[in-house]
Symmetry: C2
Subunit: 178 residues, 2 copies
DNA sequence: ATATCAACAGAACTTCATTCGGGGAATATG
DNA sequence: CATATTCCCCGAATGAAGTTCTGTTGATAT
């Protein structure tokens, strides 16, 4: 009888429940977030486990959603996208407008966040030129509920990476109160 | 005489010079940016090439820097990072302060951009709790040149992805002028 | 004290990545 | 116009890696 381990099919959203991440998991995650092409044999030497053991952990990390996916990180300028900007959108009703959600269909839109503050939405958009930016803003203003926008054009990017596995303990404790 | 194609060592920013990306490259890039674990045999069926041909193209895309790297995308909350925020920093002198560049050492800091507008810097930071955010801001204010900050706490993220291979032609032309 | 379960290592197996040799189309050269 | 040259592709072969299987160990629960 083959039991399928996946068939939970239930509430899987709070990933990593039932098994907290130990230091080995974090080590693996840190390594894979920097270079996901490394072999399990290679990783096994770094974390002190056998290749199958690492494989099993990675499999679990994927299944539980800790590793959302493995992706190739592309170079914007090489694709003709030299123009990066953050657009703060002042929305009337409130976020989640059907039109605003449809922004995700544009490959130029990389991030959409609902935020606190005077603006309700922050967009990260990357395109080829200022003219495209203009076209994008027009499209934005045509949407119902968009009252205004504030655009911050990126002059240079000094750091850009995904979620990091590490944390800085000092931040949430200790010497905050000087 | 082996000529090393890399030894330009100069201005490499416009990677992919000498060979424009064709539609097959874009198809491959689009696929790999969504799932970099797909096999070449699999990709070959999608783009209509043989596996070695796809491999060769990917190899070149890596070598020329179009594919910056392949990474595992991690799930923040699973790692205990439930708190995402954009921090606009009003810097006195101007960007690239040694201290600000050192922010990259904190795994909580995911992005650092120099931008136009009243603020000179936009930071994307992800941490475990508001207390950590507080600690981070304190650390920020201790830096020379930091005049003020404005923090936008992310309430919900509707879209978050890397550079997309596709483009929307309409944006930079045509019906912009309504 | 015994049964149960989770995690790991070593070996076997399978699939994939990678290299090699050759062919064809387009471009450059005489 | 004919002939090299170059680039890009394919099919086959090789090697390395991913993946599965089985037994063992240690811890926990009965």
């Amino acid at each position: 009888m083959d039991r399928e381990p996946e068939e939970t099919d239930d509430v899987r959203r709070n990933a990593g429940r039932g098994r907290a991440l130990d230091s080995l998991d974090r080590k693996i995650l840190g390594a894979l977030s920097e270079d996901a092409t490394r072999s399990y044999a290679d990783l096994s030497k770094e974390v002190g486990l056998s290749a199958p053991a690492v494989h099993e952990r990675v499999k679990r990390l994927r299944a539980t959603g800790v590793i959302k996916r493995t992706s190739a990180d592309l170079h914007g300028p090489s694709l003709g996208k030299d123009f990066l900007a953050f657009v703060h959108v002042e929305a009337a009703g409130w976020g989640k407008t059907e039109g605003i959600m449809a922004l995700g269909e544009l490959p130029e839109v990389e991030e959409v966040h609902a935020v606190t503050g005077d603006t309700g939405l922050i967009l990260k958009v990357r395109m080829d030129c200022p003219e495209a930016m203009e076209g994008f803003l027009w499209r934005l203003y045509d949407m119902p509920g968009v009252r205004g926008t504030r655009t911050y054009v990126v002059l240079s990017t000094h750091l850009e990476r995904g979620v990091q596995a590490g944390i800085t303990p000092d931040l949430s404790q200790g010497d905050n109160l000087k």
